[in-house]
């Protein structure tokens, strides 16, 4: 194998307020290799890519490429050096054709008129390379996610790509589509294109990559030849840190069933059944797109059910709207706190009391004394750090915003709580507090469903873990059987 180094990173460092996102990362990429980047959420994979693509400014380190050292990349520079990135969110214009998207920004023109004919024929050429049959004139919005991705790849190839970076490319694809994508990657490899492949699906890493680099907490951990390593080794490298976050002990002994879900379908999920007892924390695991948040949306009445039943306290609940969920004392702490959980421009008190504001009113007029009392109570109970109850929540930190969302549910006296990615975007100290609060709630008899992509947190907090895969139940794992490996296997549908 050719061992020419095409891209070499030296001591790349990137600081965000409060976080060292990249901590002196050094790494070489070889010509014509498929190099997988592996790591948990927050390991720094995406930040590293952005550093190479010039999407962020570096706080230190050198990018060595083509006999030049750069201590700062820009998107334009990175492009001109033959680096192309396919982000998770496609960068396509839905209302333009495939061909127009591929040559967006290039001048393919006869005088001042766009030369559609050349554009289309060149697009056909590129598609031909991949042996795919997409009409160059088709509008991107009419293409499937897989086809859109091919357009993305074609766009990169048309730019004479030397290094192609793919961020979680398989996320929107079905199994057979992934196969085709791999085929395209192999063809690119034959043309000596270096592919940097980011994924958390181990199975794919083993199928496609030549070498694999593991990152953790913004640091480089190790690079292995894929053929010389094992699943087990990679997982231990990925999450091998000692449990620095201590998960609080819980004393509760789950007794009665709080919520039972029977053959629930809708919102892309099919036939899901499980129950949660009072005082229990049940984790919900699965890959991106496995239908976890979709399930949460069903349970809180945000999306209509297509089938199945939800029983609360031994009685079936008609779930037609979020108001029904509220009545059944089901509260959601949404993944997208800012978009779904908070009124950012409004004050802390305003937010906390919003769901119960009608109940706080007499003849329609809000009892402002009671309102302040309730807000004050939860501010103290949850230790929400804010200069005043009138402070607009947009000015609070992520952790305190999350507490406001929790206070909303608690004020509504919800005792079945769904936490969707409760600690995403929250710093370590505040994470601990959220964990503690969750445990306290469980100890006091709340039933908690916790959705999380952070495996360690899920294992540390849950009594049981339900694993979803492609909208279906892939299994239920009891505490005694907890293992990262097993759950990842279930989630990726290996069984």
């Amino acid at each position: 194998m050719d061992t020419k180094v095409v891209l070499s990173l030296k001591d790349i460092t990137k600081r965000y307020p409060g976080v060292l996102a990249l901590d002196h990362v050094s790494l070489d990429f070889l010509e014509g290799e498929v190099h997988a980047l592996l790591g948990e959420n927050g390991a720094g994979k995406s930040t590293l890519i952005k550093a190479v693509a010039g999407a962020i400014d570096l706080d230190g380190g050198i990018v060595h490429i083509g006999n030049h050292d750069y201590n700062q990349m820009t998107p334009h520079l990175s492009r001109s050096l033959g680096i192309e990135v396919i982000y998770q969110e496609f960068n396509l214009v839905p209302t333009l054709s495939a061909a127009e998207n591929i040559f967006l920004g290039d001048r393919i023109a006869k005088s001042f008129l766009v030369d559609f004919k050349t554009m289309k024929s060149r697009t056909k050429e590129i598609f031909g390379l991949f042996r795919v049959d997409i009409d160059p004139g088709a509008l991107v919005r009419d293409l499937s996610p897989a086809q859109q991705q091919i357009v993305e790849i074609a766009k990169a190839v048309s730019k004479n790509v030397r290094i192609l970076i793919m961020d979680e490319p398989s996320a929107p694809l079905s199994v057979s589509e992934v196969d085709r994508m791999f085929e395209i990657i192999r063809q690119l490899k034959q043309k000596d294109v270096t592919v940097i492949y980011i994924s958390h699906r181990l199975e794919e890493v083993f199928r496609i990559s030549d070498r694999v680099t593991v990152m953790r907490d913004g640091r480089y951990v190790a690079t292995k030849l894929t053929k010389d390593t094992s699943r087990k080794e990679l997982i231990s490298l990925m999450v091998g840190r000692e449990l620095t976050e201590v998960y609080p002990n819980r004393a509760s002994t789950p007794t009665e069933t709080a919520i039972e879900i029977k053959h629930l379908s809708g919102n892309g999920d099919r036939d899901i059944s499980f129950s949660v007892k009072k005082g229990e924390i049940v984790g919900l695991s699965g890959l991106v797109g496995s239908g976890r948040t979709e399930l949460a949306m069903l349970l809180c009445g945000a999306v209509p059910l297509e089938g199945g039943e939800i029983w609360v306290d031994g009685k079936p609940v008609k779930m037609r709207s979020p108001a029904d969920a509220k009545k059944a004392k089901i509260g959601l702490l949404p993944e997208d706190r800012k978009g779904h959980g908070l009124f950012l421009e409004m004050g802390v008190k305003w937010n906390i009391c919003f769901p119960i504001i009608r109940g706080l009113s007499k003849n329609g007029v809000v009892d402002r004394k009671k309102e302040t009392q309730i807000a004050q109570k939860y501010k103290e109970q949850l230790d929400i750090r804010t200069p005043s109850l009138e402070q607009r929540v947009i000015n609070l930190s992520g952790g305190n915003q999350q507490k406001v969302v929790l206070a909303k549910s608690l004020a509504a006296e919800s005792n079945i709580l769904i936490f969707d990615e409760p600690t995403r975007g929250i710093d370590v100290g505040a994470k601990q507090e959220i964990y503690k609060l969750m445990c306290e709630l469980a100890n006091n008899g709340s039933a908690i469903i916790m959705i999380s992509s952070d495996m360690e947190e899920l294992l540390g907090m849950s009594d049981r873990i339900i694993v979803l895969s492609e909208g279906e139940m892939a299994g239920e794992v009891k505490r005694e059987q907890f293992s990262q490996d097993y759950i990842l296997d279930l989630a990726s549908g290996t069984f």
Partner: protein, 335 residues
């Protein structure tokens, strides 16, 4: 003397904050002072009474529009609603001799129904209310013209004069009604849960929905309210003009919108106050009145009004972007 610059800058910050918060009021004050100097006829009790009565009609309608705007919507059809209800009320009074006690409630109901239609269309078609009400505006106005058949409808009972032309302790009746409606609206917005829901809808519709607010019902209710209030304006205007004409009420939505925007009610929704709205209305009133006193030609009045709107809203937007930048700079530090 290390403290002094910090002290000064905090003072400056406070003044800046006040300026930002009360910018519309400052503009109004400046205009009032300016015109008092320019014309001795301006700052008289007589002229002020006329000024306020001139804008009271638009002010009442603007309250309805404000509710819709705070909830994140918009209603461009109120002028056309007035055209329609105005003509129907004229016919009821002059031709059908329907007694006032019946004709007025019917008119208010009609206005409400027109609003409900706007609301239903906007939730069923899921199109932005801007487009919905642009469409219904044309329809309502057209219906008004059809019913009117190019007639100038006259012959109302004299007792009908009181609403638009009467006085209550030397205050014109429409002004009294404007004040009452403004006070009620302010109370509803600030003190009732309904008011909270209005702000919530404009602030974050999805969060409001997830918190159990029946978003669709709210939208229809708000359009209905807007229609109801515009029907009040319609009754007052007819009483004032005392002849049923299709020109009555046309274009009133532009004054309402301008007032709302001048008063700090944004198109985005989620913010606004009756105080701000009334300030906006008075700014328009002052400009109209002063330019009439100075016998400005109509066309230049339009130019001035438009320019004031753009300057005021542009300034507001500039302040907001600055505020947003400050927020972004501040947030991470808090950690």
């Amino acid at each position: 003397m290390n403290n002094q610059p910090a002290f000064l800058s905090s003072l400056r910050g406070k003044i800046g904050l006040m300026m930002r918060k009360y910018a519309p009021q400052m503009i109004l004050l400046v205009l009032l002072i300016l015109f008092s100097f320019l014309s001795p006829k301006f700052m008289t009790l007589f002229n002020m009474t006329i000024l306020v009565r001139q804008v009271s009609f638009a002010a009442i309608s603007a309250v309805g529009v404000m509710f819709v705007m705070i909830s994140g919507g918009i209603d461009l059809s109120i002028g056309s609603q007035i055209v329609f209800t105005n003509i129907v009320l004229s016919i009821m009074l002059a031709y059908a001799h329907v007694p006032l006690i019946l004709a007025i409630p019917i008119t208010l109901l009609m206005g409400t129904v027109l609003g409900v239609i706007n609301g239903f269309l906007s939730i069923k078609l899921k199109i932005h209310p801007l487009i919905i009400t642009l469409g219904t505006a044309s329809i309502y106005k057209g219906l008004g013209y059809i019913v009117a058949q190019a007639r100038n409808i006259m012959g109302f009972p004299d007792s009908f004069r009181v609403f638009g032309q009467g006085y209550l302790w030397k205050i014109p009746v429409p002004v009294v009604i404007m004040i009452v409606i403004a006070l009620i609206a302010s109370f509803i917005l600030n003190r009732t849960y309904f008011g909270r829901h209005v702000f919530a809808l404009g602030g974050n519709e999805e969060a409001a929905r997830l918190a159990g607010v029946n978003v669709n019902r709210m939208k229809v209710t708000l359009f209905a309210l807007c229609g109801f209030i515009s029907a009040i304006t319609s009754v007052l205007l007819l009483s004032r003009v005392f002849a049923g004409q299709v020109s009555t009420g046309q274009g009133i939505e532009f004054d309402c919108l301008t007032a709302a925007l001048l008063g700090g009610i944004s198109f985005k929704g989620g913010e606004g106050s009756v105080f701000g709205l009334m300030t906006g209305i008075l700014i328009i009133g002052v400009l109209n009145n002063a330019m009439q006193l100075a016998s400005f030609p109509d066309f230049s009045q339009n130019v001035v009004k438009g320019a004031v709107l753009l300057i005021a809203v542009g300034f507001d937007q500039y302040q907001k972007t600055r505020k947003a930048k400050e927020t972004i700079a501040r947030v991470p530090v808090q950690g």
